[in-house]
């Protein structure tokens, strides 16, 4: 059987509830935020460990280690929750690829969950122990935790990569014609791609440190000397980190099969190019430019990576006759309105309220009292939820009565 026909037959017979391109855009867009927190978390975790073992070398390493431990702790929570959306939108239009890849390595897909739990618990153990004068042995928790996170990254990479190699699925599932239902193997790893994406963790935490130094400019307990230390450390990590990432991006670019033509595409070479430009900008302007600007530019680079990743997927799958935009559409407007109104109303007002509180309170030493606009935002956050839940029930009861009692 032809694998292209198989993939098109494996599409869900219900079709998709909106134009496929919408899911494509959402999958790419939401992945940017997910991978940003993956990079920040891995980078912060690595720096927390390095600083932990360097505590005796200077006055700020211990403070830095404790701060980065907290960043990684919150970062894991956010990378998990932000990973849900791209996973969801991807499997709407690439369900045959994603599900098959998962089933073929099912043991690893399940193992991912338990290793992530173990890794996060270990990081919490490190977090609780990492205070002034902490015992040296707790660093082992952090090292093990980071090792598990890196393994989880490898599992996710393999699942994503296997998904775009459909012509090899059958040889993985039934090598020599003998079916293997154990799901016990990771079948394909593209090391240049994996190492490149993981390597971005170093520049991510470097750029974050420059922004961190600016964020705490209003806090007297974060001394100018500590902030200068953070800023310089950020530059020291970011500049060589960006250069190494640019090299690895180039390796990935050269690693694509010749038949895909991806190695010759200028868009792919923009990635290493932008990374080098950002390295130069950071080296030259890390004291002049505001730290937030570096984060903004970094997000732009990740957006390019997300877009390029989708181009790679399309390029790999098109020769098999799998075109995401061909997916059968059964539009469902009410649920589409549900999502976008929730995103705007709840995401905007409630999420906005929380972020505003966290941002403002973090910059104040002592108790922060909400200014009138923030206080009103808080009232609006509660109100929008009451309205949302009210509409949910009124609308739902009407449909329920129609179907259960009147039909």
């Amino acid at each position: 059987m032809d694998i292209g026909t198989i993939m098109n037959t494996m599409r869900d017979p219900a079709g998709v509830p909106a134009v496929p391109q919408l899911f494509q855009v959402l999958a790419v867009g939401t992945w940017v935020f997910h991978i940003a927190f993956v990079h920040l978390t891995l980078g912060a975790a690595g720096l927390a460990i390095y600083a932990f073992y360097k505590r005796e070398a200077g006055p700020y390493w211990e403070q830095m280690s404790i701060a980065m431990t907290k960043v990684a702790k919150v970062g894991v929570s956010l990378l998990i929750v932000l990973g849900v959306a791209p996973l969801l939108f991807t499997q709407v239009i690439y369900d045959p690829q994603w599900y098959t890849s998962n089933v073929l390595s099912a043991g690893w897909a399940i193992g991912f969950i338990f290793t992530l739990i173990a890794g996060y618990c270990l990081w919490f153990a490190f977090y609780w122990g990492n205070h002034e004068g902490a015992k040296r042995y707790i660093g082992v928790y952090a090292v093990l935790s980071l090792a598990l996170f890196i393994l989880d990254g490898l599992i996710m990479h393999a699942l994503a990569y296997q998904a775009i190699l459909p012509d090899r699925w059958m040889e993985w599932y039934a090598p020599g014609g003998v079916v293997d239902t154990s799901g016990s193997k990771l079948h394909a790893i593209e090391w240049p791609r994996y190492l490149f994406i993981m390597s971005l963790s170093a520049p991510a935490v470097g750029l974050y440190l420059i922004a961190y130094a600016d964020y705490f400019a209003t806090r007297s307990d974060k001394t100018p000397e500590y902030r200068a230390f953070a800023r310089l450390l950020g530059r020291t990590i970011a500049v060589p980190g960006l250069a190494v990432s640019a090299l690895l991006a180039s390796w990935w670019q050269l690693d694509h099969p010749a038949a895909t033509g991806l190695s010759e595409q200028p868009l792919g070479w923009l990635l290493p190019g932008f990374l080098l430009v950002l390295a130069g900008l950071t080296a030259a302007g890390y004291q002049r430019l505001h730290g937030y600007a570096f984060l903004g530019i970094g997000l732009g680079v990740l957006a390019l990576l997300a877009f390029w990743r989708e181009v790679v997927r399309i390029t790999y799958l098109t020769p098999f006759g799998y075109i995401a935009s061909d997916y059968k559409v059964h539009a469902d407007w009410p649920s589409l309105v549900l999502f976008f109104s929730t995103l705007a109303g709840v995401g905007g007002l409630v999420g906005g309220y929380y972020l505003a509180l966290l941002y403002r309170a973090g910059r104040v030493q002592g108790t922060y009292t909400a200014e009138p606009p923030i206080a009103r935002l808080g009232t609006a956050a509660v109100a929008v939820l009451v309205v949302w839940i009210g509409v949910f029930f009124v609308y739902g009861v009407a449909i329920w009565i129609r179907n259960a009692l009147l039909a």
């Binding site: 549900l338 966290l358 839940i389």
Partner: protein, 470 residues
């Protein structure tokens, strides 16, 4: 139809993928329900703290919140996607069906989930760092957002049982799927039980508090909330039973209630007594009692509840249109979905399944055992273990370890072919495929019997592949 959109199969020996899913699911339900329930307890306690100027109550909230960060927001937030991964590898077409019906609902839940994760950090770490009124708004919005995640997921879970009317099949509308017949009853059960779990976990947290007055005050506030929640949950459970489809009722009466009813009543009794006793005498709340009570609720209450829900919707995994074995069971005109059972009856799984190796597409004497094993994994292993003595509805055990191929084949040609058993899918296969499955099961049983008699492990006796019929 010359091909079905079937996926490769993942088989977990002995416990099957269903138990993998169940274990992750139960951990998630316990962690997430506790979290949502606790959010409401926080809101109630903080309202009292604000109105009556009792800032000491915030000490308890902070303590409980830190516990939740680990218990619910590590374990709960990872096992949430974990269930997704588990059902992906166990029932790829099932999860695909749900995703393609409910993607926007899930996406809306994701918005709430994101808000909730940011919210729990804000709630815990901003206690004492921001003005009390702003924090109170934060806590109430957190509680409502947490509950909204439950509102959204329960619609999807209850659709997995059934839509409850013909509307969705005809319209294909997410509205008709989501607000299905047992949605509100199901929501009521979970909403009530989350308060019970949160109250008992609250006791675990309160047990370690030094301030006796504060500790007793908190317990006296939590206990009645848990009791009211528990009572509501029980009432809604009886209503829930009235909203089930016929296949679920048969399964419930024939298999599930005899196994689980006593345990569930024990959970209601133990939880009620514990909450009443703690309300009357808060000093009895100790960690070494609260932890076992909570574990008892999780193991004897939540695990059977999740197992029952999974079993009752059999033979389907979603909306009474996708069988557990991934075959489309009926037409859904609203989505242009066409049933596959008749096509399989005509052409057979070996011809239609895209992931059958060519050497196994035709049954021969040489490959009969191997084909039978593959077909059993494809058609049966989503609900049944293929290993003798296994806890997940072992097929060899269901046939009483029979080695009589004709007897086994008679079942396949009779009740299974005609869909006569309400909680099993209709599996109508061509004669060679029936023969291969019967041969496989009989051989496994023979090997098991030989192993029992000689104390030799079954694995050493059962052929790995390709034994001849002779």
């Amino acid at each position: 139809m010359d091909m079905l959109g079937m996926y490769p199969t993942f088989y977990v020996p002995y416990i099957g993928t269903a138990w993998v899913m169940g274990i992750i699911g139960v951990i998630h339900v316990v962690a997430s329900h506790t979290s949502v329930g606790a959010a409401f307890l926080f809101a109630l306690l903080e309202t009292k703290a604000y109105r009556d100027n009792q800032p000491q109550l915030m000490t308890f909230i902070k303590r409980y919140g830190v516990f939740l960060l680990v218990f619910s927001y590590i374990i709960g937030s990872i096992t949430g996607p974990g269930i997704w991964y588990a059902i992906t590898v166990a029932s790829p077409r099932g999860v695909g069906g749900l995703i393609h019906n409910f993607v926007w609902v899930w996406a809306a839940e994701w918005v709430y989930f994101t808000v909730e994760v940011i919210g729990v950090y804000a709630l815990v770490y901003l206690i004492g760092k921001i003005d009390p009124l702003s924090h109170l708004k934060l806590t109430w919005s957190f509680a409502l957002a947490s509950w909204a995640t439950m509102l959204l997921i329960v619609g999807i879970l209850s659709f997995m049982m059934w839509p409850g009317s013909e509307s969705w099949y005809m319209t294909g509308s997410t509205n008709d799927a989501f607000y299905n017949l047992n949605f509100f009853a199901h929501l009521g059960v979970r909403t009530g039980s989350m308060l019970v779990m949160a109250a008992v976990v609250g006791f675990m947290v309160a047990a370690g508090m030094k301030d006796r007055e504060l500790k007793h005050g908190v317990i006296r506030m939590l206990a009645p909330v848990g009791l009211v929640g528990g009572l509501f949950s029980v009432m809604m459970f009886f209503y829930y039973l009235q909203t089930l489809p016929e296949n679920a009722r048969v399964m419930l009466k024939a298999h599930l209630l005899p196994s689980y009813a006593a345990g569930m009543m024990a959970v209601v009794a133990v939880a009620s007594l514990y909450l009443i006793a703690a309300w009357a005498r808060p000093q009895i709340v100790r960690l070494w009692i609260a932890v076992p009570v909570f574990t008892f609720i999780a193991v004897v209450g939540v695990w059977p509840e999740e197992r029952m829900r999974e079993s009752m919707r059999k033979p389907y995994v979603a909306g009474q249109y996708i069988y557990g074995n991934q075959v489309i069971a009926r037409d859904v005109p609203g989505k242009e979905i066409v049933a596959e059972v008749e096509t399989i009856a005509e052409k057979g799984l070996l011809k239609l399944h895209p992931f059958v190796p060519d050497r196994l597409r035709t049954v021969t004497d040489e490959n009969r055992y191997e084909v039978g094993e593959l077909l059993a994994k494809i058609a049966c292993s989503n609900c049944h273990s293929l290993d003798p003595g296994a806890p997940l509805r072992s097929i060899p055990d269901k046939f009483r370890r029979s080695t009589d191929e004709d007897l086994i084949a008679a079942f396949l040609r009779g009740p299974l072919k005609h869909g006569a058993i309400p909680y099993m899918p209709r599996i109508d296969l061509p004669e060679p495929e029936i023969g291969a499955i019967a041969h496989y099961i009989a051989t496994v049983n023979a090997a098991a019997q030989a192993g029992t008699e000689s104390d030799t492990p079954v694995a050493d006796i059962a052929p790995a592949s390709g034994p001849s019929k002779e």
